[in-house]
Amino acid sequence: MTNKLIGQNYVTPDLVAKVTGQAKYAEDFRVDGMLFCKLLLSPRPHARVARMDTSKALAMPGVKGILTADELPAPADVVTDLGQRIAANTKGEKALTNEPVYQGEPVLAIAAVDEQTAVEAIEKIEIEWEPLPFSVDPVKSLLPGGANARLEGNIWGKPKPPTPGQPVAPPAIEELKWTEAEAAEYAHGRLPTGKTPDEWTYGDLDAGFKNAALVLDESFVTPNTSHQTLEPRTAMAYWQNGRLYIHCSTQSVVQTVGSMSRWLQLDPKDVVVISQYTGGGFGSKATGTITAMIPALLSKKLNAPVMMRIDRETEHYIGGARPAVHGRLKVGFAKDGRITALDMFVVNENGPYEPVGDTGMTGRMVSLLYQPMAMRWRGVSVLTNTPPRRAQSQPGGMQGIVLMEPILAKASRKLGVDQAAIHYVNAPEGKAKFGPANPRGERAYATSAFVKQALDRGAEMFRWNERKAQGGKRQGSKVRGYGVSTSAFVAGSTGYDGLFVIKPDGRMYIQSGIGNLGTESMSDCHRVSAEMVGMPWEKVEITWGHTGKNLPWSCVSGGSQTIHAHTRAAHAAASDAVKKLQEIAAKAHGGRPEQYTVANERVSGPGGSMTLAQAAQKAIDLGGKYDGHELPENVNAFTKASASALAGQGLMGVARDTYKRDGITHSFVAGFAEVEVDVETGKYQILDYVAIADVGTVIHPHALGGQVLGRSMLGIGHAIGQHWVYDQQYGLPLAKRFHHNKPPTILDAPQKMAWDALNIPDPETPVGARGIGEPPVAAGCCAVLNALADALGDDVFKRAPVMVGTLVAALDAGKAVQEPLTANI
């Protein structure tokens, strides 16, 4: 049977509001008596408030109040979905602090009748600072005599193994310094491979290197890149009858209730999150941001609604960034390019707060994507006095692949193996294993992988075989280059709920707890439910973006989870509804429920047929499970509360995703790029880019294409310009606005872009769809990096982004010009 909705383009329910300016983002709300607050930001990379005088500020007319770090609730433990308690990390990020650990960190907030008054009041606050040691270079911090970013040390130690019955302890901050001998290679531009707190290995590394036809050993640095969502993380809060209403910029809706209630130590029932439209997240607003608690607390304290507008520069500080990873990889290749051994060493610039997952993810994704026969991974998360790092599209996986791809491309040239072929011979297939073995000796594996098919499709679309021969051939001052890259990332979670009601008016009312950050999954996932109950899309209404409106338990809208998690949940809820419809029809017309089919707005069988509208009325008459008065045991308490509030209105579809899954869901992308470099000026242009997605069943082509090429563009930004610059002497950021950080503009975009998806269903999920938000990033970045190296030869650059200055210096000198091993230059 062909699908009517799945795989088809349509106008999403938010689109007309967006294009007419009616869509309301957090800063677009106004409330009577609303105050404005402004933040005082730390002027130093690390310091302590020695003395503070707020009297002049508070005496100003129009100033309503202040919030300091001392007034924040203490960090609370986290309880996971599985009931596991994780102890609060007292060294983690707070909304305000008296010991700022990066320049730009919020210290206090002032609320006033208008923003101008708040700004002037901030200026009147007198603070005497006690300066503390700081570090803005993770590798230097590891060298003998290097400074520590935190008073307790410079790295996150390995998490302690859990003690039964005790909350899981957060890792501790420790000090790590390499010896002079360990650090010796630093002076030669190679990343020293000193002690690390964490490592794993599988296979016989020594034998792998011994049997290799080629061994490469390379150091490479990836950039720190701010998320720079176009909408800053503004938030506005008010209280009503003891409940907090928060309008905030967040990727997730239902899941933000959890984070806000934890930060504020409130009962989740007392938090209402409103976010119908969010101006981008890329991982940095996964469940909102901790600073959103500031207007909430001020609002409570002052008994007035409070708006906290975040300006662009503040957004640079609190908005988060992808951490730079400094890597050294020793890779052994067989003659055909197969990787026989891989020794991976990473120093991750963690920023000042919680350990980010990027460090470990570098190794896991490299092991999945290239299937090395033997591999060791070593890594350390080093603290620096720079803005907090947050997950950014393909966190860690992206950096790991960026460390690896230039080596793969170099090996292809050294071995005389085609770039696409070297990816092909190492590509994961089917239930490909990855990472280290667990204590039982088992390795994790993917649900499915069709990377070879993606490479084939891409090579065909790009006409790789015809075009690659032009690589490195000079015409006047111009030279072209061609690059291939593959990429991988985790792409889906399980266990969430679906909820909808078909009412006697014949329409389907779907509740969506998914955030709307532009991926359209808050609507796309539910196409599955409508398809399964035979409901035309014009008769579907989706409620989303307001946790006061009876939404089901939903996943974090991040990490490419949603399309997988919620097509499953939608499938479960629709299966529940279909079963109920069959039972209702059998009750009315006789026969067995299985003899009835649901299609075209009817449920029909041997005894007769009724419309869904009639069935909805019958569901109300029958009550019980049919109209939501009885609910399945296994749905989340959040869903139960929402479903109970909707009970009695029609036929309810409500269920939890309990479908089995063998393996861990991952998605893959193959990218192909063509660049043209002017070897006299160093300026280059991307002429063409093609990306092929292996993401299972296609749900909504327009939205999928936006993710494939949109996230590729984010990756291309990492290749061509986006980065941070720090004054190393004073620890101060010099690049903190769009103008300095250089996210790509329309003129930087490839002149041509195209995409396709394999549309091969994943066998481990009922609808077959996997997530897509992550893997295009590294594919975009590395296809361009590899194309540049194809044009210019090996060793011209040892870092991303590849700046014109680097190219000119290398082209001038005829060899790579050594740059310091830090991302922040």
Binding site: K18, G33, D114, T229, N241, L517, G518, E520, L714, R737
Partner: protein
């Protein structure tokens, strides 16, 4: 606006949308001090601050401080929140509006400087009577040209403005025409396709 906050704010009062056309809107106090604060002498020039702004074909009386930008005035005094502020410093284009048919960054134009000129915002593009979308808006809807859409009003206004000078641009010309606008979610290729489709629809 009042400095007092009712102990119980009614839910109906909460979300104030568009301010009724024709009335003098002075909610600019949200961002700028326009009311006389207790203990301060009354602000000089209060009369000169009152101006008529022609927005989306309507004359709107509005109280504007000398330092107040057009973006803030549109958003906070007139309730036209479709114009977005992404940087407030002429870097991103999210705030682009038309002033006498020419695209401008409204975050970097003082409201007092647009006296006697015609301002068009994203809210003013669709046909007010029928709700029919402008061709460029239609192009965006047809091809789902954006993601989060925070950049979208700026891109659409920049395109509408550019097409007035060059109704039949090549892709490259159009890209140059709107190169003052940043998008962080979408690939620019799809944006360009959507906006070029809009241009095509406009030509009919």
């Amino acid at each position: 606006m009042t400095e007092e906050t009712p102990a119980h704010v009614s839910r109906r009062n909460f979300i104030k949308g568009v301010v009724a056309a024709g009335a003098v809107a002075s909610t600019s106090a949200y961002l700028f001090r326009t009311t006389t604060l207790h203990g301060q002498p009354s602000a000089a020039g209060a009369v000169e601050r009152l101006m008529t702004l022609n927005v989306n074909g309507q004359d709107r009386r509005v109280d504007v401080l000398p330092q107040q930008t057009l973006a803030m005035t549109l958003r906070y005094s007139l309730g036209l929140t479709g114009t977005k502020i992404g940087c407030d410093r002429a870097e991103c284009g999210a705030c682009t509006v038309l002033i006498d048919d020419v695209p401008h960054y409204s975050c970097s134009v003082l409201a007092q400087r647009v006296r006697g000129k015609k301002v068009v915002t994203i809210e003013g593009l669709a046909d007010a009577a029928t709700g029919k979308l402008h061709a460029v808006q239609q192009g965006v809807v047809e091809s789902q040209g954006f993601q989060c859409a925070f950049c979208m009003p700026g891109f659409v206004m920049a395109t509408v403005g550019y097409l007035k000078t060059n109704p039949n641009p090549t892709r490259q010309e159009l890209a140059h025409g709107i190169s003052g606008n940043l998008c962080r979610c979408q690939d620019y290729d799809k944006i360009l396709t959507a906006l070029a489709r809009g241009a095509e629809l406009m030509r009919g």
